[in-house]
């Protein structure tokens, strides 16, 4: 379970953020970092290198230049494509969910009583995904090595054959 150990929770709703942090905190291997704004998140993301960001869809704009959820999602996916972003929102509209997936969100969770268990399940899904990606990369490397080995064997056989060191008749047939 060590593929995921750093998680960001980015939400200006302090109660929501605290509850999610406490709920996920039961997994001792998770280091949970909570930020109230997208700006704080972006300042720390390259330093802490989280595997998952739970991101609120809607932020109470402090100023006109404050980032909203979609802005933060795009920024994270653009600058840190290996970080999975899970959107959290009070909106249960399908078009909002589809829009966030379009910009690269891994999942979309509606803030409700079941949201916390869903967040847990998403973490497990991401861990599974990371494991599968690692296995796929390993198989790719193994296939490449096997291909290289096979190729070298064929080349060696061809060289030995054409230099007369080996013949078609292995000598079993008199």
């Amino acid at each position: 379970m060590k593929d995921v150990n750093n998680i960001f929770i980015v939400d200006d709703d302090a109660v929501q953020a605290m509850m999610l942090s406490d709920h996920l905190g039961k997994y001792s291997y998770l280091n949970i970092h909570t930020y109230l704004t997208g700006e704080e998140c972006m300042k720390n993301i390259a330093i802490v290198k989280p595997q998952i960001v739970f991101l609120d869809y809607y932020f109470d704009k402090v100023s006109n230049t404050s980032m909203n959820g979609l802005d933060i999602l795009k920024a994270i996916r653009g600058e840190h494509p290996d970080v999975d972003v899970v959107m959290f929102s009070g909106q249960d509209k399908i078009e909002v969910a589809v829009n966030t997936m379009k910009y690269g969100a891994f999942d979309y969770i509606v803030k409700s009583e079941s949201a916390f268990h869903r967040a847990e399940n998403v973490i497990f899904n991401i861990i599974r995904k990371l494991k599968l990606e690692r296995m796929a990369a390993m198989y790719k490397r193994l296939t490449l090595l096997f291909g290289i080995a096979l190729g070298l064997l064929l080349i060696a056989t061809a060289v030995l054959y054409f230099t007369g060191n080996i013949s078609v008749n292995p000598g079993w047939v008199p």
């Binding site: 302090a14 109660v15 929501q16 605290m18 509850m19 809607y58 704009k61 009070g90 909106q91 009583e113």
Partner: protein
């Protein structure tokens, strides 16, 4: 009879594993934040800032759910939707008054819980 409780802390209790210290942490945060949110909604409403009404109603909505405020979730959702779609704007003040009343009663009940 006005004895009927309007808050239901069943969800919070389950969420907190029955840990009242933890429950009080969340209730305490709600007691601090909710009045501010209500003031923001009222201010935005008085200024006909419907985006502001929507934003603050949106923020308050999950907390209303978590505190189990009976009837509160439907009201706050309606306020959020109407201010977002700019429909039934004239009905929002009445809904907000109801919401405010509910929250005041909820705050009284939750204060009692905090003192236990």
């Amino acid at each position: 009879m006005d004895d009927q409780k309007i808050t239901d802390l069943t969800f919070l209790s389950t969420f907190s594993g029955g840990d009242t210290t933890r429950m009080k942490k969340y209730v305490g945060m709600f007691l601090q934040i909710a009045p501010q949110q209500l003031e923001k909604i009222k201010g935005a409403m008085n200024a006909s800032d419907w985006d502001g009404v929507r934003a603050n109603a949106h923020s308050l909505k999950p907390q209303i759910t978590y505190m189990g405020i009976s009837g509160g979730e439907a009201l706050i959702k309606q306020i959020e939707n109407d201010s977002s779609s700019r429909t039934n704007l004239e009905g929002i003040p009445a809904m907000f008054s109801q919401m405010e009343e509910l929250c005041k009663k909820a705050i009284v009940e939750l204060d009692v819980f905090m003192k236990q």
